[in-house]
């Protein structure tokens, strides 16, 4: 009985705080994406030759983000029937967008407006969630081209 109450309160806490944090995070992501729109992230490996060659600087952005208890519970139920795990999809989406934003922020602070050869890497770092992915790390990196002022 006590176990059941603890489980229910954990689920409720996870549900309310998780929703709240996710909503706020998406709001802030959308706001900052508009702010950094003029820093262009390009996935091509080699910049066009016509580009005014400036200094090349490696820029990185990373974030470690965790899923809440309620969503983890949903995901564990989902493994019984299979299919889309929507709760983890939004987690990965948020993490990737956040990592790219941090990379862009770094690029802009260096005075760059283009970042080439973007690579994204995802790693699951926390194994303490009883085998579940729980928290993930996303790293975004690329080469910022800082135009030389004349």
């Amino acid at each position: 009985m006590v176990d059941l109450i603890i489980l229910a309160s954990l689920l409720a806490l996870g549900y309310f705080f998780g929703q709240y944090f996710e909503k706020n995070h998406y709001k802030s992501i959308i706001k900052r994406e508009a702010k950094y729109r003029n820093v262009v992230a390009i996935a091509s490996r080699i910049p066009p030759v016509s580009e005014n060659p400036g200094a090349s600087i490696l820029v990185t952005g990373s974030v470690v983000i965790s899923v809440d208890y309620f969503k983890r519970f949903l995901a564990s139920l989902r493994t019984l029937i299979g299919g889309r795990v929507v709760s983890y999809e939004s987690l990965l989406d948020r993490a990737r967008r956040e990592a790219i934003l941090r990379m862009k922020k770094k690029a802009r602070s260096l005075g760059a407006d283009k970042v080439f050869n973007i690579k994204l890497e995802t790693a699951s770092i926390s194994k303490n969630a009883r085998g579940g992915i729980g928290s993930i790390e996303v790293l975004a990196y690329g080469t910022a081209l800082v135009p030389v002022r004349r």
Binding site: E51, L58, K71, L139
Partner: protein
């Protein structure tokens, strides 16, 4: 020392190749951070402690890679890649590698 994850540096020519250079570090978090991460696993959200830890560790790996490149007389590292692997419970290895070259 120029570090880039592109194969070329725009406007510069590669004079000499020195081959692969690498830098790595293995890090683990302390108990306090682990406890905080436990709370965050209930509420969800960013684990700032971990973000910082991994960021610092990655910088360290890049610094070691640069030192290795410098030691063999290179002035740039191209095509840099990062890799993360967990080697033990709660410990992660951050690894950076690239090609050391001399630019004109």
């Amino acid at each position: 020392m120029i570090v880039s994850n592109m194969e070329i540096i725009p406007g510069k020519r590669v004079k000499e190749h020195f081959g692969l250079v690498q830098g790595s570090t293995v890090r683990t978090k302390h108990v306090g951070r682990d406890l905080m991460a436990g709370f965050k696993n209930i509420f969800g959200g960013e684990l700032r402690g971990y973000t910082e830890l991994l960021h610092e560790a990655r910088e360290e790996a890049v610094v070691r890679m640069k030192q290795q490149a410098e030691a063999i007389g290179a002035n740039a590292v191209l095509n840099v890649r990062f890799s993360t692997s967990s080697v033990a419970q709660g410990a992660a290895e951050l690894f950076a590698y690239g090609t050391a070259v001399k630019l004109e």
